[in-house]
Symmetry: C2
Subunit: 359 residues, 2 copies
């Protein structure tokens, strides 16, 4: 059964829907969430469009919307102010106005760009996220973070802007390339590690069905992940506190991503290695029992994720990335550790402590 | 005495300070409002910088900030995504981060651009508005609207983003060119017309002192205007209802601005003509007593503002601008009228009703 719940934010309300085949019904779902059936834009990329654009268009038309497709090039390089400008041109050309809405149909890149466009077009128009990747469905489509890259910094330009509705159609996961599917599992395991010990038990049991992409298993795991994320952002939309816990595995992960050249490791893969490293540091520094560390490690392996630091990890780019992190937080690195599974804490670590723990 | 009050918004709190000589104390005032004394950028333009940039810089340094000046070209042409990109480059170059802040020092253009930059740099950093024009001080610096222009549409790209602090240093009004000063009075008279009949009495009495730019008169009128604006936006930050009342005079005003070529009429001058026209329509349609219409007309004239429609107003550009307005609101033009001074109402008018009333 499709599940449905509401997320209350300080100013905005975001509705979440998870289920198989929802894309074919996205127009009616949008109407039910109060999106006005007017001219709207479906922002998508050249990979996703051939697969899903016509289904989204048909469903929106049937519900009374007047959709236009706006395609961008796939990939991280599209996350630029230039692409944002091009999308604005298209929106003006198609005469979108204050009452129009933006549907983001695709993975994280599409969601990030479309979110920024929706938040800045005429000071903000309605946004609906329709993530078609596992990372998008369990993580990035919910929470309101968006952004594009500056030449010198990832996601430098962005806003916090909540979608009115997130539609996670788990049917779209069936055709996802294996590596992209598995990277999404890193974020799923992350929720379990930091927020719910029982979810680790369940993942140990369910992982074969998840990897086989059984619809029931997928629906359950996407829903459970999104509920965790919703709970966190309801308490801390702007990442002043608790939301930072979601960065478990991400400090090392980001440093690996930027030092190994974007694309060598997928984001989720880097996070997996980062979580494993954070678990080891947690054993050393905050008393995570070693059997719990081993359970997390095993789960990441079963999910088919990399867990070992790359052989050449200890290079100047990696150190520079961590130093930048340190500088940003005034001289120490705010690192997410565990005292046990489901009990995260933020520790201010020195660079040498981290490097020492990684050797 | 400088006055100080708080504006409670749905998510954010904005502090407002009005007084003579406050610019020289802007660093300490920012500290008092909780702005962290770190690296910050003072966004200003080439007209304002020679006059006030060093005072702002000195005051911020004295309070422990580390300010860098970012100058843009003066004028409406700077309101582009290109300028925003250039400012991002400067912020990156100067290594601003999440804890940094932006001080907007100048008129409406500077405030609009700096506000958008602050709202989108690393998903939003602290913004302080230091308006140096009367329009900025009584209106645009407070309320969180920002934006830049698209080739085809004014203010198409922008957000709602509240400043932490607005510092209205009325000393900066002393050197304002006469025409720019008087255009600010249009917005002052607007608050009186739509929100407070007694303010019309007071303006009739005080206008000579205001025009002579007596510090006490200016401080009183800026404070009173900002309190009115604060009251409106506290109830309707995103302009879903009551905030639209602030558009009194602006429907005709905007159409005049866009049909007479930007720059021929200053914004406040166009609004003045628009308010006079709206008052006449109010007599015809909503029973505004004609003696009240005459009082508003007289007040606009004493303020030195134009009130007559330009001779060539009835041209295709003017009609097109109104038609665009009509299209935006689904077939009628939402027009702000008065039933009496201080009692505004929103009426849906047909294009011909408006044109007929203007003849």
């Amino acid at each position: 059964m499709p599940s449905s719940f509401k997320v209350e934010l300080s100013r905005d309300r975001c509705e979440v829907r998870v289920g198989a085949g929802l894309l074919n019904n996205c127009g009616a779902l949008a109407r039910q969430s109060g999106v006005e059936p007017t001219r709207c834009a479906i922002v998508t990329d050249a990979n996703v469009a051939p697969r899903y654009l016509s289904a989204a268009t048909d469903s929106l038309r049937a519900a009374g919307f007047d959709p236009v497709g706006v395609e961008i090039d796939p990939g991280e390089l599209s996350k630029s102010l230039g692409t944002v400008g091009e999308i604005f041109d298209r929106l003006v050309q198609h005469e979108l106005d204050r009452k129009s809405s933006i549907f983001a149909l695709g993975g994280g890149v599409v969601g990030d760009i479309a979110g920024l466009v929706a938040s800045t077009f005429m000071r903000g128009i309605t946004l609906v996220q329709i993530p078609t990747t596992l990372v998008g469905q369990v993580d990035s489509a919910l929470g309101g973070k968006n952004g594009v890259n500056h030449r010198d910094a990832k996601n430098l330009i962005g806003t916090f802007y909540q979608p009115r509705l997130v539609i996670a159609d788990i049917s779209t996961l069936a055709t996802l390339p294996e590596r992209e599917f598995r990277e999404g599992l890193a974020e799923v395991i992350k929720y379990a590690a930091i927020l719910e010990a029982r979810m680790v038990d369940d993942l140990e049991r369910e992982m074969p069905a998840i990897i086989a992409r059984g619809p029931q298993a997928l629906e359950a795991i996407v829903t459970r992940s999104l509920r965790h994320k919703a709970d966190v952002i309801e308490h801390d939309e702007r990442e002043h506190g608790r939301r930072a816990l979601l960065n478990f595995g991400h400090t090392i992960g980001h440093a690996l991503e930027s030092s190994s050249g974007y694309g060598t490791l997928l984001h989720g893969e880097a996070v997996s290695i980062g979580m494993r490293a954070a678990a080891r540091l947690s054993c050393q520094l905050t008393g995570l029992p070693s059997d719990q560390e081993r359970r997390l490690l095993k789960l990441l392996r079963i999910a088919g994720l990399p867990v070992e630091m790359p052989e050449d990890w200890h290079n100047e780019h990696f150190i520079r990335a961590l130093r930048l992190d340190k500088k940003r937080s005034d001289g120490g690195i705010n690192f997410i550790l565990l005292s046990e599974i489901g009990r995260p804490l933020i520790r201010r670590l020195e660079l040498d402590q981290i490097l020492g723990g990684l050797r």
